[in-house]
């Protein structure tokens, strides 16, 4: 059996997703940017920090009119020591404690970090105070970390923000950078197909008891679920069943200059169609039924990119009746 191909893949929206935060969360984030922790007083008198847009128990809407300032000092409710922080995974580059911290005047606690050197300095019930960053943008990271605090000591000053044109505006949104890193293994069937491309061959598969050949089979016949265990060589020539002419630039990094043709191609000897680019003739010459041939990359690899595009063979067009069942 062939070892399956494995690839790394990162899923990340370029530039990050935006989040319109709404009035309530916006007010909370604006407070953080200005060096202030605020919570919302719910109908039953509890003060929720961080505030949510809706009462978690009754679902009643929370109003900015119910906001109260809390802290800045708070109490550690519980904690966990991070002895080996990892670059890009943790916000601090030195050992620290994750802690649930209840700011004075709040009835709930918020998850944050306590910046001390050893776990011996941590205890449930210890008093802490936020250490604010000077480059605050309206997010929970505006507090770099919390530090131990002794009641009665002076409250540290919040460093002023550098001047900016819109420093007085409310925070209305954030950008979240998120990324998922995957390792993906191609199935046996896909691996066979891709290794075939590296040799300039299109390998299809069919199931026992069926005549239907699937080029680039995913391992099963989609109509029966039976494994496409029989390998079949498929021609690199075929017919354009249908297509469109793309006039929008920038739809993909792989897109050629507009206008270009994206078509469904029915390969000779296969019973499924492929999406592919059509080049080698003017876009106006492309038609349903046109015969085409794969244009292979000079240096073949086990990747779909080995077929750069499809180009006309110059043969007479296929009859509509020959491909009408594949539309």
């Amino acid at each position: 059996m062939t070892e399956p191909l494995v690839a790394r893949h990162s899923l990340e929206y370029p530039g990050g997703y935006t989040r319109s935060v709404g009035e309530v969360v916006g007010r909370y984030l604006t407070g953080l940017r200005d060096g202030r922790i605020e919570g919302a007083r719910l109908a039953d008198g509890r003060v929720l920090v961080p505030p949510t847009e809706y009462d978690p128990l009754t679902s009643a809407a929370v109003s900015v009119d119910d906001f109260v300032e809390v802290g800045p000092a708070g109490t550690v409710v519980t904690w966990s020591w991070v002895a080996n922080p990892r670059a890009e995974k943790h916000a601090l580059d030195r050992p620290f404690a994750f802690a649930l911290i209840r700011p004075d005047g709040a009835d709930t606690s918020m998850l944050h970090m306590v910046d001390v050197s050893t776990p011996e300095e941590m205890s449930t019930g210890m008093r802490v105070i936020p250490h604010w960053r000077s480059d605050r943008i309206g997010g929970v990271s505006d507090i770099e970390a919390w530090r131990p605090y002794k009641d009665g000591d002076p409250i540290p000053e919040v460093p002023p923000l550098p001047f900016s044109e819109n420093m007085g505006d409310s925070v209305t949104g954030i950008v979240t950078s998120g990324r998922l890193d995957y390792e993906i293994a191609a199935g046996e069937s896909t691996t066979r197909f891709l290794l075939g491309l590296a040799e300039g061959k299109i390998i299809g598969g069919k199931a026992v008891g069926s005549d239907d050949v699937y080029a680039a089979s995913r391992g099963t016949d989609p109509t029966t679920g039976a494994p496409t265990s029989i390998s079949v060589d498929v021609s690199d020539t075929g017919v354009i069943t249908t297509f469109c002419i793309v006039n929008i630039p920038g739809l993909s990094d792989l897109a050629p200059e507009i206008p270009y043709v994206s078509a469904q191609v029915l390969l000779d000897g296969a019973n499924n169609t492929f999406f592919g680019l059509i080049r080698g003739c003017s876009v106006d010459e492309v038609r349903m039924g046109m015969r085409v041939k794969a244009k292979w990359l000079e240096k073949l690899t086990a990747d779909h990119g080995s077929i750069e595009w499809w180009e006309p063979t110059g043969e007479p067009d296929a009859e509509y009746a020959d491909y009408k069942d594949y539309l």
Binding site: L11, G22, E53, C244, V246, N247, L251, H304, L327
Partner: protein, 388 residues
């Protein structure tokens, strides 16, 4: 096995817009949900369960919307479900919610579907390159435009067939204050001269990208009897799916769509949908999908869909209005779009559709949604009278 009657007792939706930067996703769904509750004469505590739907997670990058939206939708202490069937999700979410009532599990279920497309880019979300998969270099329209060309060839439909729908649905939207696009000035010439994005598909043949939410409260017979406003009764509901690709798959007129329609018509006692229904709200994201779905849903013989459109049969004053609300071509918060179809037909049979209310004769209407590569279908028929 006996089934319980299900009624739509409340409907609510947002004003669909290109961007609702003034509210969070929670705030957006809340607007629709509050309106539906008020319509039903209920408060959060009256609701037994919540069923929420939205389109693929990559659209806004929220992997568990049901978790994030629990407080906004009053789900504390109640069952909450999330449904996920690509573009058809708004329809299938409503059906999952209705089945909870039909099965006698709950008396009152709140169902909500939404999309906030302005927080990212759906074209990116639909065509993320994946290792070992063929790259998609032509976007979502590039997937559907070749099918439209194939339909034109197969049916002999003239090139203006789609453009007529593009004009009709935008003029219908002028009657609907909740619609995203309001283009009273639109003409056939404007559509014909608009940017040819994916030949044969033009800019004005395609749907907009919207922020919006739709909500309904579904109730049992007992709940319907106590409702303060007229209700819409569910006469039939069905879902079908099929693989994206298989040998000799009819992509233009998919079998799953035909089967789904046949099932829902059988349940609702519909033998001729053009005659037996007062209107339909059908998922038409590209104008050409009106003639294509007219055939798929059995409103005419195969190949004749474009003729119905050309004759004006599907116009607001035609014998079988399609998308009197303006449809997906006028508002497209993707995850909500299917539920908007379902909710709009409920409003029609309740006589509550306002400026886009059609004349009621049979008192029955069809709501439809589809998604993926024309592979997921969800439909329901609602009626003004309780099913026998």
């Amino acid at each position: 096995m006996s089934k319980n009657a299900v009624a739509v007792v409340g409907v609510g939706q947002t004003h669909h817009r290109s961007s609702r930067k003034d509210v969070s996703m929670a705030g957006l769904v809340r607007e629709a949900a509050v309106e539906a509750l008020e319509d039903a004469g209920m408060t959060w505590s009256d609701i037994d369960a919540v069923v929420v739907g939205k389109a693929p997670d990559m659209f806004e990058g929220v992997a568990m919307p049901e978790l994030y939206l629990a407080d906004a939708l009053g789900a504390a202490g109640k069952p909450m479900l999330r449904v996920h069937t690509a573009g058809s999700v708004g329809g299938s979410t409503a059906i999952v919610a209705a089945k909870l009532v039909q099965a006698g599990v709950h008396e009152r279920v709140l169902t909500v579907a939404y999309e906030k497309q302005s927080e990212s880019n759906a074209t990116w979300g639909l065509s993320v390159p994946m290792p070992f998969s063929p790259p998609l270099v032509a976007g979502a329209g590039g997937y559907f435009a070749p099918m439209i060309r194939a339909y034109m060839t197969r049916s002999g439909a003239p090139r203006e067939s789609g453009h007529l729908v593009a004009v009709k649905d935008r003029l219908n939207a002028v009657r609907n204050p909740r619609a995203h696009l309001h283009m009273p000035e639109i003409t056939l010439k404007m559509v014909e001269e608009s940017w040819l994005l994916w030949d044969p598909l033009r800019y004005l043949d395609t749907c907009p990208s919207s922020d919006g939410a739709m909500a309904m409260v579904l109730g049992s017979e007992k709940v319907a009897a106590a409702a303060p406003n007229p209700v819409a009764w569910v006469h039939g509901m069905a879902m079908r799916s099929e693989p994206t690709m298989f040998a000799r798959r009819d992509q233009i007129n998919p079998q799953a769509g035909k089967d789904c329609a046949a099932d829902v018509y059988r349940q609702a006692g519909i033998s001729d949908p053009r005659r037996d229904l007062d209107c339909a709200e059908v998922y038409v994201p590209f104008s050409w999908y009106e003639p294509m779905w007219l055939e798929n849903l059995g409103f005419c013989a195969e190949g004749d869909g474009w003729k119905l459109t050309a004759e004006g049969a599907t116009a607001f004053d035609g014998d079988i209005p399609w998308n009197p609300s303006g449809g997906v071509l006028s508002s497209n918060p993707i995850g909500a779009s299917g539920m908007i179809r379902f909710g709009e037909v409920a409003q029609q049979v309740r006589g509550a559709a306002g400026g886009h209310q059609v004349e009621l004769k049979t008192g029955k209407a069809l709501g439809h949604a589809y998604g993926g590569g024309s592979q997921f279908f969800a439909m329901w028929v609602v009626g003004a009278k309780k099913p026998e």
